[in-house]
C-alpha cells in the first residue's frame, strides 16, 4: 500500500536552517544542564540534606564524648559511607535518567542527533554535582567534629569522593536499566552491602563499601573488618567500576524503548 512513492516525491531541496554537528562535549553539557534542573527540587534537597546532617550531629556528639580514633572511623564508615552517601547517590543517580524516562521527557534528548554516552555522562555528572556537596560537606564535618585527628579528615575526603563517583555511576546505570531503581538500589545498599557482603571477604569484593572502608582504614591505621585493600586499590577499583557502569548505561540507553 503506497500513497505516493514516485521518485518525484523525494524531498525537494528547500532552503535549510543553519546547524552544526552537536559535539560530544556540547551534548554532555546540554544533558548536564537539563538533568541538574530536573533533579533539583526543594523538597528533595531539604530531605536529603537533613539525612546527611544526621552524620554531622553524630560526629559532634562523639567529639563531645572524647571518643577515640577507632570510634570516629566506625562512625564515619557506618553512617557516612554505609547510609548517607549511597542513599543520596541513589536518589540523584537513579533519577538522573530514570526520572526523565518516567516523566517521558527523555525523548527530548534521545531523539536528537547526539550520541548516547554524552547523555549518560551528562546525567551522571549532574548527579555527582548534587550528591557531592550534599553528602561530603556533612560527612567531612562529622569527621572534623569527632576531633579524632589521625588523618581521618583527609581519608574521609578521599573515600567520600570515590564513593560519590562510584555510587552515582552505579545508580545511573540502575536508573537507565530498571524502572524501580529506588527499590533495587535500596536492596543493594541495605541487603547486599549491609548484610550479604558482610558475610565474607569474597563476597565483600563486590561491594563498593569495602573499598571506601579500605581507604579510611589504610589512611588511619584503624583496624576494621573487611577493609584490607590498599588505598590505591580502594580508589582504582571503584573508579573502574564507574567507567564500566557508564559504558553499560550508554549501551543500554541506545537499545531500550523510549516512551
Amino acid at each position: 500500500m503506497s500513497l505516493d512513492t514516485s521518485p518525484d516525491a523525494v524531498p525537494s531541496e528547500r532552503p535549510r536552517a543553519g546547524r552544526q554537528r552537536v559535539g560530544n562535549l556540547d551534548a554532555v553539557w546540554l544533558s548536564f544542564n537539563v538533568v541538574i534542573r530536573q533533579l533539583t527540587s526543594r523538597g528533595r534537597i531539604i530531605a536529603l540534606t537533613s539525612l546527611a546532617l544526621v552524620a554531622t550531629v553524630a560526629g559532634f556528639a562523639l567529639g563531645r564524648a572524647d571518643a577515640d580514633l577507632e570510634a570516629a572511623v566506625r562512625l564515619v564508615s557506618a553512617l557516612g559511607f554505609a547510609v548517607v552517601i549511597p542513599v543520596v547517590a541513589l536518589v540523584f543517580g537513579g533519577a538522573a535518567i530514570g526520572d526523565l524516562r518516567e516523566d517521558k521527557t527523555l525523548v527530548y534528548l534521545w531523539l536528537r542527533p547526539i550520541g548516547r554516552w554524552p547523555i549518560v555522562v551528562g546525567a551522571f555528572l549532574a548527579a555527582v554535582a548534587l550528591t557531592a556537596p550534599i553528602t561530603l560537606v556533612p560527612v567531612v564535618a562529622a569527621a572534623v567534629l569527632t576531633g579524632a585527628g589521625g588523618g581521618i579528615v583527609a581519608a574521609t575526603v578521599l573515600a567520600g569522593l570515590v564513593a560519590v563517583v562510584a555510587y552515582c555511576a552505579l545508580f545511573t546505570l540502575l536508573g537507565v536499566w530498571l524502572k524501580r531503581f529506588i527499590v533495587w538500589g535500596l536492596a543493594y545498599i541495605l541487603i547486599w552491602e549491609g548484610f550479604i557482603a558482610l558475610g565474607g571477604a569474597g563476597v565483600a569484593r563486590f561491594a563498593i563499601r569495602k573499598y571506601t572502608r579500605s581507604i579510611i582504614v589504610d589512611r588511619t591505621g584503624v583496624d576494621l573488618d573487611l577493609a584490607d585493600f590498599s588505598t590505591t586499590t580502594g580508589v582504582i577499583v571503584p573508579l573502574a567500576v564507574s567507567v564500566v557502569a557508564l559504558v553499560l548505561a550508554s549501551w543500554r540507553l541506545g537499545r531500550q524503548d523510549i516512551d
Binding site: 500500500m1 503506497s2 500513497l3 505516493d4 512513492t5 514516485s6 516525491a9 523525494v10 524531498p11 525537494s12 528547500r14 535549510r16 536552517a17 543553519g18 546547524r19 552544526q20 554537528r21 552537536v22 556540547d26 551534548a27 546540554l30 544542564n33 537539563v34 534542573r37 530536573q38 516523566d103 517521558k104 521527557t105 525523548v107 527530548y108 534528548l109 534521545w110 531523539l111 536528537r112 542527533p113 547526539i114 550520541g115 524503548d257 523510549i258 516512551d259
Partner: protein
C-alpha cells in the same frame, strides 16, 4: 500562519484502497457528527478484513518514500500492537486515523526509532532512525504524552530543543518557533503552569526548531481551542507544501477532514484502509445509519417514514422509534416538515452509531 490548498489526491490503485474495496457512493453532508471513541487496549490479531492491508503480488518488494513502512509488526509479549502494516508516504500532509489503542502511537514510536520493530522494517529518509544519528536530526516528533521540562519557560524549553539539534543561533530559532505557534508573548511563566493547549503548542514549537524534513505528530490538536486548531492545521499544510513529510494522527474524524486528503486508517493494529479522505467519507456516508427519533406519537411518525420509503428497518418503543436508513440526508430534510404535517411533536433526533467506532466496525467487518 496561513492556510493553503489541500494536497493532491492520491491515486487509488491497489485492491486495498478504498475506491477498490467499495462501490462509488454519494457524499452526504449531514452525517458529520463523529465523536471520540472510548479507549480500547491493544488487541490480538483480528480475522482478515475486507480492506486488509496485505500487499498484492506486484507490491511485495520494499516500498520507498520519505517514510517507508514495510510489513511492520510490533508485539508486546503476546499482545499484537501493530500487525503487518505496509505503506509509504512522501511530502505533504497525511493523516493517520484510528481509535485509541489502534496502534498509532506505537507506529509513530517505531518510525522515530524509539522502539524497534518486532518484524519488518521502517526507513525514514532512507535510513533507520533508531541507529542513524544524522536522520534523527531531520525528524521531529510531537509525542502524545504531555511531557515537557516543566521548570523551564517556553523560550528555555524550545531553546534546549534547538541546542540539542545543533542549530545556529538557538535562541533566535526558538523565538521564531514560538512566534509560529503564537506563544511568543508568554513571558517567563514555566511551561509547567501552561494550559493544555499552550503545552501542545510548546511541543509543536520544539518540533519545529530543527527545520525537520519529517514531522510526526501524535494527536497534536488535543486541547487546542477551535481557533488554535484552525491555525495549527494551516501550519501543517504550510509545512507540507514546503516539501516536508507531515504525518498527523487523530481519532477525531472531523480533524482528519481538515488535515488533508490523504488518510491512513488503522484499527486493531492493522492498516485497514488508505487513500483519499473524500472516498473514506463517501464510504462512511454510504453505510446504514441508525437514528433514534423521540416523539409524542412515535407510531404515527414511524408509519409515515415507512410510507415514504425513508427507512429500511425500525423498532418502536413507548416514546421513540429507532430507524435504520441509507439516506440520512433525506431524513434530515423531510423529518421536520413531516412531523409538522402529522401533528407529531419531535423530542429527540439522535444518531446512534455516528462515531468512529461504528465507522471502523463498518470498514473492518462490514457491519
Amino acid at each position: 500562519m496561513t492556510n493553503s490548498p489541500p494536497n493532491q489526491p492520491v491515486p487509488a490503485s491497489t485492491p486495498t484502497d478504498l475506491q477498490a474495496t467499495r462501490p462509488p457512493v454519494q457524499i452526504s453532508t449531514t452525517n458529520s457528527l463523529p465523536t471520540q471513541l472510548p479507549t480500547q487496549p491493544p488487541t490480538t490479531l483480528p480475522p482478515p478484513t475486507l480492506a486488509d492491508a496485505a500487499p498484492t503480488a506486484d507490491q511485495t518488494g520494499p516500498l520507498t518514500g520519505m517514510i517507508a513502512v514495510n510489513d511492520v509488526s510490533k508485539f508486546f509479549g503476546s499482545v499484537v500492537a501493530v500487525s503487518d502494516v505496509r505503506f509509504a508516504i512522501d511530502s505533504g500532509v497525511t493523516a493517520l486515523l484510528g481509535p485509541n489503542g489502534a496502534g498509532k502511537s506505537t507506529l509513530f514510536r517505531m518510525m522515530c526509532g524509539l522502539t524497534p520493530t518486532s518484524r519488518g522494517t521502517i526507513e525514514v529518509l532512507g535510513a533507520d532512525p533508531r541507529t542513524d544519528r544524522n536522520v534523527r536530526g531531520r525528524i521531529s516528533l510531537v509525542a502524545q504524552q504531555d511531557a515537557l521540562f516543566d521548570h523551564l519557560d517556553a523560550l528555555g524549553m524550545v531553546t534546549v530543543s534547538a541546542r540539542s539539534h545543533g542549530m545556529d543561533r538557538p535562541v533566535e530559532v526558538a523565538r521564531r518557533a514560538l512566534e509560529t505557534v503564537e506563544l511568543s508573548d508568554v513571558g517567563a511563566k514555566p511551561v509547567g503552569q501552561f494550559s493544555k493547549g499552550m503545552r501542545q503548542r510548546a511541543k509543536v514549537a520544539c518540533a519545529l526548531v530543527n527545520d525537520p524534513d519529517v514531522l510526526i505528530m501524535d494527536e497534536p490538536l488535543t486541547g487546542l481551542d477551535p481557533v488554535q486548531r484552525r491555525n495549527m492545521i494551516a501550519l501543517f499544510h504550510q509545512l507540507g507544501d514546503e516539501g516536508r513529510c507531515v504525518l498527523v494522527s487523530s481519532h477525531v474524524l472531523e480533524e482528519v477532514a481538515r488535515l488533508g486528503s490523504r488518510v491512513l486508517v488503522i484499527a486493531q493494529g492493522r492498516l485497514i484502509a488508505s487513500g483519499d479522505y473524500h472516498e473514506l467519507r463517501s464510504l462512511m456516508d454510504d453505510r446504514p445509519l441508525r437514528i433514534r427519533l423521540g416523539a409524542d406519537n412515535p407510531r404515527r411518525l414511524a408509519t409515515a417514514l415507512v410510507g415514504r420509503g425513508l427507512v429500511t428497518a425500525l423498532s418502536l418503543e413507548a416514546q421513540h422509534v429507532v430507524v435504520d436508513t441509507l439516506d440520512a440526508d433525506a431524513i434530515g430534510r423531510q423529518l421536520a416538515p413531516l412531523a409538522l404535517e402529522l401533528g407529531v411533536r419531535l423530542t429527540e433526533v439522535s444518531p446512534l452509531d455516528d462515531d468512529l467506532e461504528s465507522v471502523f466496525r463498518y470498514l473492518v467487518e462490514g457491519r
